[in-house]
Amino acid sequence: MKYAIGPVLWYWPTATLETFYQRAAESSAEIIYLGEAVCSKRRATSFHQWMDIARMLALQGKQVVLSTLALLQSPSEVKELRRYVENGEFLLEANDIGTVNMAAERKLPFVAGPTLNVYNAQTLQLLLKEGMTRWCIPVEMSRDWLIQLLQQCDAAGVREQFEVEVLGYGHLPLALSARCFTARAENRGKDDCQTCCINYPTGRRVLSQEGQQVFVLNGIQTMSGYCYNLGNDLSGMHNWIDIVRLSPQGESTLAEVDRFRANEGGQAPLMMARGSDCNGYWRRLAGMALEGGR
């Protein structure tokens, strides 16, 4: 099993990102995704700065993947995206079908990101023809669903043509909107957002009127209120999953990679707490459910 650090979904200042990726270079993760995947208004880190970080990580022996926006709306966003697609050095993660189109037209390989609607083997076969080399499954997909799907890929003779990745740790990206919810929480609209999500490095907590943490706001993205954690599900993944992705919640996530690795056979179970951790999706339950915690 390999481990990947997902793109930082929060809006962190460039200096914070540089420090984070210095540490990531020293971590045991084999694969690092980076780049802005949520909002095109987050421009503190430029294309060239991302490329510099990517090259530094590659020199340290990491496989680097440039991640891209999940919601592409304006021609200017598509234009900016073209620089990432045509970067010439690194593999691309496509998080919108439009990005798949851009990669395919240039005959470039790509990772199919978790926000693409891929729910069956027929869809995967088309993406394979388009150049997909790896698939990160949708966050709501269960182990049962995945196994059936991969068995069909087996039957179609394409199972060996791509790697399978699961987002197994972190607050989950659940939805995207035209509206910026972080700005709304400050009583402003998106046009006047002042890129305020940079002030909330792990988002803004949304509580029910009973104090249950239901969601976390991250700009135009709504995330799960609990931290998804498949650290105790790894032993059941070996036949199906090649890569486990951990979504950065802070520098502590890098150490989480080692805890996951140590528990691949179930020999060093992770502690999980009700009301803050969850593992429901993988177990075909409500995403927020936690089995086996306390």
């Binding site: 999940a70 919601l71 592409l72 709306q73 304006s74 021609p75 598509v78 919108d96 079908i97 439009g98 798949v100 189109n101 851009m102 395919a104 609607n117 729910y119 069956n120 083997a121 027929q122 869809t123 088309l126 949708p138 966050v139 709501e140 669903w145 059936q148 799907l149 068995q151 069909q152 989950l172 659940l174 939805a175 995207l176 909107s177 035209a178 509206r179 910026c180 919810f181 709304r184 929480a185 609209g189 998106k190 046009d191 803004r204 907590r205 949304v206 029910s208 009127q209 009973e210 249950q212 239901v214 969601f215 706001l217 709504t222 799960s224 999706y281 339950l285 409500a286 995403g287 927020m288």
Partner: protein, 331 residues
């Protein structure tokens, strides 16, 4: 410009036609469509009857088969396409690559409309689907501003359809997992958002509470009317501030945008609400028919009539309407 109305049953379909719909969209009685609600939708026989009725009146039938095929039941989606195509559907509204592929291969003569659930928000995405499946139409997600709709309309090789009125999805459709986060079932996986079987209302000393899978979505004061606990329209707290964190209970109403939509060459305006009553469909169709006719006759003179707004306001969630993402201030 086509007026496309929803119908959850034959009476609603007939009432849509009687009040001016050019086309009606429906779903089959299973989880192959995104309004998989008890007591709603069409059997094979009713679908054939619907097609006959519509064609007699020279209107069109669109069939939504717009959830994503499960690996254990791909036959269900294929057979839904067979049933629709063989019973007279003029267009199939599809979101999943597996269903698009099957429809294009077996029924090339039946139009393929890309469902809003496919979440195509940009020209490159439209190119992708059109390149593979020769689309006749793309239904745009409700996340684009009017400016962005116009930009897209100028360049798209496929005619566009937009949502004009009804419940307002505020997330990019087809890529929202909020419902499965709380309940295990989402529009993509089960064909419904905030499914009714997880809903519970309860009168408590603190007020009427609405819950979804036991999570408290809202609590209403005695003078407030309790709404359906659609999870993105609940009242939650951020830093001790209690408010509608994502969106108020409100409906989309774009009557005032009609001249712009017409100028942008939008092929069809779509009314949301297959789950609504025949009376609702009638009322909405009537207002929109009048508005479209006025607008097409003289777009320069077009003005939204107060009685239209009043009629639609009464039918709206929380009696409120909004322009949603079409208007930048909403964003």
């Amino acid at each position: 410009m086509e007026l496309l109305c929803p119908a959850g049953n034959l009476p609603a379909l007939k009432s849509a036609v009687e009040h001016g719909a050019d086309a009606v969209y429906v779903g089959l009685k299973d989880d192959t469509n995104a309004r998989h609600f008890a007591g709603l939708n069409f059997t094979d026989k009713k679908l054939a009857e619907a097609a006959r009725y519509l064609h007699q009146h020279r209107r069109k039938l669109h069939v939504a088969i717009n959830t994503f095929a499960h690996p254990d039941g791909i036959n269900r989606w294929q057979s839904a396409i067979d049933v629709a195509a063989q019973n007279g559907a003029d267009a199939l509204i599809l979101a999943d690559i597996a269903t698009l592929e099957y429809a294009a291969k077996h029924y090339p003569q039946v139009e393929r409309h890309l469902s809003v659930q496919a979440s195509a928000t940009n020209l490159q995405a439209i190119h992708f689907y059109h390149r593979h499946f020769q689309l006749s139409r793309v239904v745009l997600p409700r996340v684009l501003s009017m400016h962005q709709v116009k930009q897209l309309a100028r360049e798209t090789p496929v005619p566009l359809e937009v949502f004009a009125f009804g419940s307002l999805c505020i997330m990019a459709e087809g890529r929202c997992y909020l419902s499965s986060w709380l309940t295990g079932e989402s529009p993509n996986s089960a064909g419904a958002c905030s499914p009714a079987k997880f809903v519970r209302w309860q009168q408590t000393p603190k007020g009427m509470e609405s819950r979804l899978n036991e999570v408290l979505i809202d609590r209403y004061a005695p003078d407030e009317s309790a709404g359906y606990p659609t999870l993105c329209k609940g009242r939650y707290e951020v830093d001790n501030q209690l408010y509608h964190v994502l969106e108020e209970p409100t409906s989309l109403n774009t009557l005032s945008l009609l001249p712009e939509l017409l100028r942008a060459n939008i092929a069809s305006v779509k009314i949301e609400g297959r789950q609504r009553s025949p009376a609702y469909v009638a009322q909405v169709a009537k207002v929109w028919r009048q508005a479209i006719d006025r607008c097409m006759a003289s777009p320069e003179q077009y003005a939204v009539q107060e009685p239209w707004m009043q009629a639609l306001g009464e039918l709206s969630e929380g009696s409120q309407t909004t322009l949603g993402a079409y208007h930048r201030d909403w964003q």
